[in-house]
């Protein structure tokens, strides 16, 4: 590669010692370390999901007894939410790309970034060891008084999640400060790539909401370990107060998961359609709108919990605004393709998967926000299917799309496109097979968190379990060929997709300090109408 040899060594090859990886403050190396960790969490959480689905093949108890079943879905929830979905896109692709996309050398606080990595690892170890040694059976929601009274040891998981919260907050602060202070010359707010806007909004939610979670978890821990009775009516506490506090964080947490994925999708649809986003301001406005109104919808988790009808109505209508902003985004993505030049590599297939799954998830969200129907669907498989469509269908599609799109940027090598297409189709189809039957199960009245169920629900459960195997097969395939490609994939030049975007103007993989000279920006991020990008190095495109 003639281009690369003239430039400084890449961040991967600059230093090769183990120490240089463990003590690195380079955002790119930290991002790669995070990538390894969150993918590990994804596999762990996935194994628990497969075990759950296996038990649900039969209406009666077979392999997994009730107590173990409760522990398994708690672990599945805790690991997937806090170890995978919440950190996934920001700490990996956000960490890697934010400085590259705004033309900076690193994040504003490189050492804070390293501290965030180690808090994440510490929190994960505490959660996983605590889960194996003790084991919580409360569900990822830790509702008291059950979580205060359960004989199992909830404390390690609560403390582990608290530490993970600290990690999230540090990343959030770092991103906000970086976006405000480290934009290169000409990178105005309205020239920011939409992924950066998404990261910015996500960071704001992380910084504002996570402390509430931290406080709440500590209070539950005091209840559980020392009988403080803050949420236990036997001591004069209020269990409903916990639900308000918990969902005040955990509802915005859904947008922590989905907003970065939306940012990834905005990038991908523009670059692979070679079109400017249909309306930049609409996407930015709806991103900030979701971040704002997301703080005011937590009550819709509590329509059956003993809340006044008036409150329920207010939370119902505020939830409709989230659907409104999401609809604006979907409209803009589809309109962006109009009169474009559309290529169909794997990231674009994940975009289509996202469009289907997120639309269905969002529309069923409108269903549950029309308060009366939620009374029926609440705590049934309908809700399970709904949030998996949003969180897995949305955040997971975003993660896989980002992984394929920026894989050549991170490792300087290309993944095999044919396997990429096969895996994408398998994952999306497997997903539909798993979760569409769960909507019907919920319609039929099947409550969630049951390890035994009446026989008439069995057919749908069997279809759902078979679907889960397809998802697992697809995901294993993705990481098998990606791992292979890290070492043996076809080497690429700096811009293998032939796309715009500041991150592609430096070599792939980038040098340690990202840019030899600080770049200057003169145009918006998606101005394809100006013609062929200058930075294109003429490599054959896949």
């Amino acid at each position: 590669m003639s281009v690369t040899t003239q430039e400084p060594a890449s961040y991967l090859g600059a230093e090769r010692t183990v120490r240089s990886w463990l003590l690195t403050t380079d955002h790119k190396r930290i991002a790669v370390a995070f990538l390894v960790a969150v993918v590990g969490a994804l596999f762990l959480g996935g194994i628990f999901a497969l075990l759950l689905r296996l038990e649900l093949l039969m209406p009666e108890e077979h392999w997994v007894e009730a107590a173990l079943y409760n522990r398994l879905f708690t672990l599945h929830g805790v690991i997937m939410v806090w170890l995978f979905l919440i950190p996934s896109i920001p700490v990996t692709f956000g960490n890697f790309l934010l400085p590259l996309m705004i033309g900076a050398r690193d994040l504003a606080f490189p050492r804070l970034n390293l501290a965030s990595l180690y808090s994440y690892l510490l929190g994960s170890v505490v959660v996983i060891v605590g889960a194996i040694a003790g084991g919580a059976d409360t569900g990822w929601t830790f509702y008291p008084p059950y979580s205060a009274q359960t004989p199992m040891s909830v404390s390690p998981i609560l403390i582990g999640v608290f530490i993970l919260g600290v990690s999230s907050t540090m990343t959030g602060i770092n991103f906000i400060v970086t976006t405000h202070t480290m934009r290169t010359e000409g990178m105005t707010w309205l020239r920011l790539p939409l992924f950066v806007w998404a990261l910015y909004a996500t960071s704001v939610i992380l910084v504002l909401a996570t402390p509430v979670l931290g406080i709440t978890l500590i209070l539950v821990w005091l209840d559980h370990a020392m009988n403080f009775g803050i949420f236990d009516p036997a001591y004069g506490g209020d269990p409903i107060l916990y639900q308000h506090l918990f969902w005040f964080y955990s509802h915005p947490a859904v947008y922590i998961m989905i907003l970065p994925a939306m940012g990834v999708m905005s990038e991908i649809v523009c670059h692979f359609s070679r079109k400017e986003i249909f309306s930049y301001l609409a996407i930015v406005g709806s991103t900030l709108g979701i971040a704002f109104v997301g703080f005011l919808t937590w009550g819709h988790h509590m329509f059956t919990a003993g809340m006044s009808s008036f409150d329920a109505g207010v939370f119902g209508i505020l939830s409709m605004f989230v659907a409104l902003f999401s609809a604006i985004k979907v409209f803009n993505w589809v309109a962006t393709m109009y009169k474009g030049s559309i290529a169909l590599p794997a990231p674009m297939l994940y975009f289509f998967g996202f469009l289907i799954l997120f639309s269905v998830g969002g529309m069923t969200g409108v269903g549950v926000a029309s308060t009366s129907l939620d009374v029926y669907w609440h705590d049934t498989y309908f809700v399970v299917a709904h949030f998996h469509f949003i969180m897995v269908g949305g955040a997971m599609m975003g993660f896989l799309a980002a992984l394929h799109y920026w894989f050549p940027k991170i490792f300087g090598r290309m993944y095999p496109e044919r396997l990429g297409t096969t895996a994408a189709v398998t994952v999306i189809m497997g997903f539909l097979l798993t979760f569409v039957p769960q909507f019907l199960l919920g319609n039929a009245g099947m409550p969630r968190r049951y390890n035994t169920y009446p026989e008439h629900y069995q057919t749908l459960h069997v279809i759902s379990t078979v679907g889960s195997w397809a998802i697992a097969g697809g995901i294993v395939l993705v990481f098998a060929y990606l791992l292979w490609s890290v070492w043996w994939g076809r080497p690429v030049g700096r811009n293998p997709w032939g796309v715009l975007g500041l991150e592609w103007t430096t070599s792939s993989p980038p040098p340690k300090h990202n840019f030899t000279l600080p770049p200057t920006v003169a145009h918006g991020p998606y101005d394809y109408w100006l013609g062929r990008p200058d930075e294109d190095d003429g490599e054959p495109r896949t």
């Binding site: 004069g236 070679r274 249909f278 003993g306 109505g313 409709m320 129907l373 009245g445």
Partner: protein
Amino acid sequence: MIGVVVQGASGGSARWEGLVESLNRLYRKILMLPEQASTMARGLDFLHYFEITVMNVVALVIALTTLYFVIRYRRRRDAEYPPRVKPSISFELGVIAGLFSFFILFWVIGFRQYVEMLEAPEDALDVYVVGKQWMWQFAYPEGPASVGILYVPVGRPVRLHLTSRDVIHSFFVPEFRIKRDAVPGMYTTIWFEATRPGVYLGFCAELCGVGHSKMRAGVVALRPEEYDAWLRGRPPMVAQLPGRVPPNIEAPTQLEYQQELALLGQEVAARHGCLRCHSTDGSPHIGPTWYNLYGAWETMADGERVRVTEQYITRYIMDPNFKRVAGFEPVMPSFMGQITPAEIAAIIEYMKALSTEPEVRSGRAIFEGPPLPPFAPAPGTDTIRAGGAGRNR
């Protein structure tokens, strides 16, 4: 769209009703919804059909547009750089506003139903439901209490007052389309009116521990005359009713006949010392009199007017400082941890029996004569038995 037609058509000609009914059956089959066995189930399902129809149309439009764009504008040459397209913001605004007006319409219909679901008719029959790990108990004002099976009459509104002895549970009957959490330390309410006799399955919908998936209840809807017979002690012929008999519940269940709840309440109130401060005949004392208290509007020290309901009474017994009634000193102690949910249910029934004209007390009705004689138990039942029914069982 079809949903609108369906909604608007109720009460139309017989032909319309036939069409509506077959649409209802078709949708219910496709969506795998259980049968509609309460008065509210049909309205809820029609909103469901309406939403799913609108959303499928929208999803289809998105999918077809995307497919068309992908085929029409696929990349044909590598060096293709399409020109800029000026966005038509008014088109976007139109689409979004159209969609949002549907969202708001769903909310308006849904919220009306939600309010209706929580506001029981005045003549509703009360049943006190207590969840505990891992069973449901149902207590009736007339006396019987049953474990595991809720008996209700068809054609009469039934209001459930739910609470829990330990952790949060949630009572869910799919065929009635109702669900409400049973939270320790407070009463929540929901109501329904069963429309057809049968046996239905009730679930616990809130994770409550190892026995969660087995915490089920039978719900038996009886014809009114059978229900009256059951209240008088005759076991109903459950085997002859349509529906699934829950496998883990043997029918008929054990029934325990005890005193009427109101009488039990009088006993409980005496035992806990309530009557030392609260009179029952309207005479002033340390606390507000219970005469005509239930259902009345009381004035608080800060001027707020609060209606005395099951929730208010429960809350006040647990946490007397949450409100201060005008004209009284805040001297009531909390009974948290000393009084069981069943005892509170009994006290509430007693207070109801003492309240024949709460409107008079509220000052919202004209006083029409001397007060009625205060509540007096029937002869022969007024003896207070130590460890009365419902407590030390």
